[in-house]
């Protein structure tokens, strides 16, 4: 798509596993991200879901070049990020930022809010000192924090407030793309809603492209236009959020959706549960063929041989399963 704002092409992030003290040699590879291709419009919000170990956090970091990708390219607004190095890369970082999961660990505990935000504001721009207080105040108000807390330290805030500070910091450099890695997972339910609303609003107002990573499908469904489901380093399903959630195509997506607890006892008792057997596999020793086949209730013999590609199911939706059409036949 030529109008794609963010293009990720066959992105891979492989890590060698080494053994030996004297003669270190490689005995295997962790294929954390194994060939991901995605395109996003400007201002789009994409939800990226999957469970621990599926590679979603690694994907987020690889896109932002916080982890050097092993293969593949990332093109943002026409600029190839994967080719940038050294101070070029450092300067380009103003365009793409990250919001982390743990709101406590992602703020320097010895810096006040003012220090943290002023540092971000000045990271790539020369701003005279006397303008800083005003800019910092504006930034705080934008994320819903009262400027009277500007001299306080992270530990004096609640989790939700700290996350707002982190969001303000990411916004300070005026980025075009933000990757939010499980930004609400560590927060209480009532606070999650506040932060989700805030991110949605900011994205709309500032035409920010947002990749929202979470293991919580219901949170992601709400804020995203499209959802990508990851399993063992690959995207197994991609489509509009509501459809992926209500009528998932891929067997893994089906299991994921069915495992989400519904806070309504009547519906909860009635619905069909797909309980997966076994543990999520480790990315060092992925199964042959389709990575999901050992746990898949629909697996057939071919599934152990063929690696499914992400294919179109209809113009809007894609899935990576050789039995996709059979399983989802409209009855």
């Amino acid at each position: 798509m030529s109008d794609a704002f963010l293009e990720i092409k066959e992105l891979k992030a492989h890590f060698p596993v080494e053994r030996g003290i004297v003669f270190r040699h490689q005995i295997g590879t962790v294929k954390a991200v194994d060939g991901v291709t995605l395109s996003l419009r400007q201002g789009e919000i994409l939800g990226l879901v999957g469970e621990s170990g599926c590679g979603k956090s690694t994907l987020g970091r690889a896109v932002l070049q916080l982890i050097p990708p092993t293969e593949g390219t990332v093109i943002l607004a026409g600029r190839n990020l994967t080719q940038l190095k050294g101070s070029e890369l450092r300067e380009a970082r103003a365009d793409f930022q990250m919001i982390f999961q743990d709101p406590y660990a992602s703020l320097n505990p010895r810096m006040t809010v003012f220090d943290t935000l002023a540092e971000a504001i000045r990271a790539h721009k020369e701003i005279p000192g006397n303008e800083l207080p005003l800019r910092v105040s504006r930034l705080m108000e934008k994320v819903g924090l009262s400027p009277r807390f500007v001299k306080k330290y992270p530990h004096e805030f609640s989790g939700g407030q700290r996350q707002r500070i982190a969001i303000a910091r990411a916004l300070a450099v005026e980025p075009k793309l933000i990757v939010a890695d499980e930004p609400v997972s560590a927060l209480d339910v009532s606070i999650q809603a506040q932060i989700i609303n805030l991110l949605a609003k900011l994205s709309r107002e500032m035409q920010l492209t947002l990749i929202f990573i979470s293991h919580d499908l219901s949170v992601v469904k709400h804020i995203s236009e499209r959802i990508a489901v990851m399993y063992l380093g690959k995207i197994v399903e991609l489509g509009p959020a509501a459809k992926v959630f209500e009528r998932p195509l891929h067997p893994y997506s089906k299991a994921l959706v069915s495992a989400v607890p519904i806070p309504d006892p009547v519906r909860e008792k009635k619905r069909e549960r797909i309980i997966l057997s076994g543990d999520p596999p480790s990315p060092i020793n992925p199964p042959s063929g389709c990575p999901f086949h050992p746990r898949c209730p629909y697996a057939i013999a071919d599934c152990a041989r063929i690696v499914p590609k992400l294919e179109n199911f209809d113009p809007e939706r894609q899935g990576a399963c050789i039995r996709m059409r059979e399983i989802n036949r409209v009855s």
Partner: protein, 336 residues
């Protein structure tokens, strides 16, 4: 006779910034074999309540200010070390949120697993090991006979939690207290764990207290639910009843802020404001600053009152019948 009867439990923390009343006059009871869910957010007192019962609160700065917790004729809050020792770990077991920090990384699973057996029941090591292998199989650890000799770090998160459950259940306790044991786990693993606990509960006939912030988990798993806010019980009822006829504004606000139940496209409902500072005395209902139904009368002290069969609420206006929370209302004014 209820299995566990807690009356007027009060626990506070004496900190430099004041006395934090974490649990403020909480009473509840639990029948044999029953599943009770305790729901609340951080600071609600849900965990501190159960830690107080098990006497796991560090005694400075914590202090159990008053109340009783009767378990089979013994008041857990005042029991002697011997009495407590024979109950804790044997008749009442507890599992925690983070299995990695609850398991000793330097000891094999076998040692940690059979320890409660060796202490509480005088059986030999060989017998204890067999029971250990058996319970590991029952909780779904594959190849239990060999894996019992592994160390905690050799297991995945979900497996470790199963091991924790095995450790808690090996003495066939009458009551299992689970403090957010699946919060840190993936949703599919959580589903497996919940299924497992349900199965073991049926087999052992034990009661379960499940502490969580997730109303969804409660909906599918617990028979009764108790919602806590600011160290007090806000509402208590059978699960179906709580969801169908919500009787406290906080419970309703909680339900409304869950993304799963909200239509896409609009902003999510949020509960405005912040939880109260528990080191300051609160005159009336603690939810007043954030409640859309609050009135002047809500500032007087209000207690838990029954409004139906086994349905209690601490909302004065609901008790008086002034407010019906089932009415769908027009776009609520959102306080930010």
């Amino acid at each position: 006779m209820p299995l566990l009867e807690v009356n007027n439990l009060r626990t506070s923390f004496h900190t430099r910034h004041g006395i934090v009343r974490a649990v403020n006059d909480v009473s509840f009871s639990l029948e044999k074999g029953e599943t009770l869910g305790i729901v609340g957010e951080s600071g609600s007192g849900k965990s501190v309540t159960c830690y107080s019962l098990m006497r796991l609160i560090p005694q400075p700065p914590g202090k159990i200010e008053g109340g009783s917790a009767m378990f089979d004729g013994v008041d857990l809050l005042k029991a002697s070390p011997e009495q407590l020792g024979s109950i804790r770990g044997k008749r009442i077991s507890m599992i925690f949120q983070d299995p990695m920090t609850s398991l000793n990384p330097y000891m094999r699973i076998s040692e940690q697993l059979i320890e409660p057996l060796l202490i509480h029941e005088r059986i030999g090591r060989a017998d204890a090991l067999n029971r250990g292998i058996q319970i590991l199989q029952e909780v779904g650890v594959p190849d239990a006979a060999n894996r019992i000799r592994s160390y905690p770090h050799e297991f995945s998160g979900g497996m470790r939690q199963r091991v924790m459950i095995a450790m808690a259940l090996i003495t066939k306790p009458e009551l299992l207290i689970a403090d957010e044991p699946t919060t840190a786990l993936d949703v599919t693993v959580q589903a497996q764990i919940l299924d497992l606990v349900k199965k073991m509960q049926r087999e052992l006939g034990m009661a379960v207290i499940w502490i969580t912030h997730d109303l969804g988990v409660v909906a599918g798993f617990c028979q009764r639910v108790q919602v806590m806010y600011a160290g007090r019980i806000a509402e208590r009822a059978a699960t179906d009843e709580l969801f169908a006829h919500t009787a406290h504004p906080y419970t309703r606000a909680l339900q409304k802020s869950i993304p799963a139940l909200q239509p896409k496209g609009k902003s999510l409902y949020t509960i405005g404001g912040m939880p109260p500072d528990l080191s300051q005395p609160i005159a009336g209902c603690p939810f007043v600053p954030r409640c859309e139904f609050a009135q002047e009368q809500c500032n007087q002290p209000v207690g838990l009152k029954s409004i139906g069969t086994n349905h209690d609420t601490a909302c004065l206006r609901v008790q008086k019948g002034e407010v019906n929370l089932q009415q769908p209302e027009p776009e609520p004014a959102q306080k930010t």
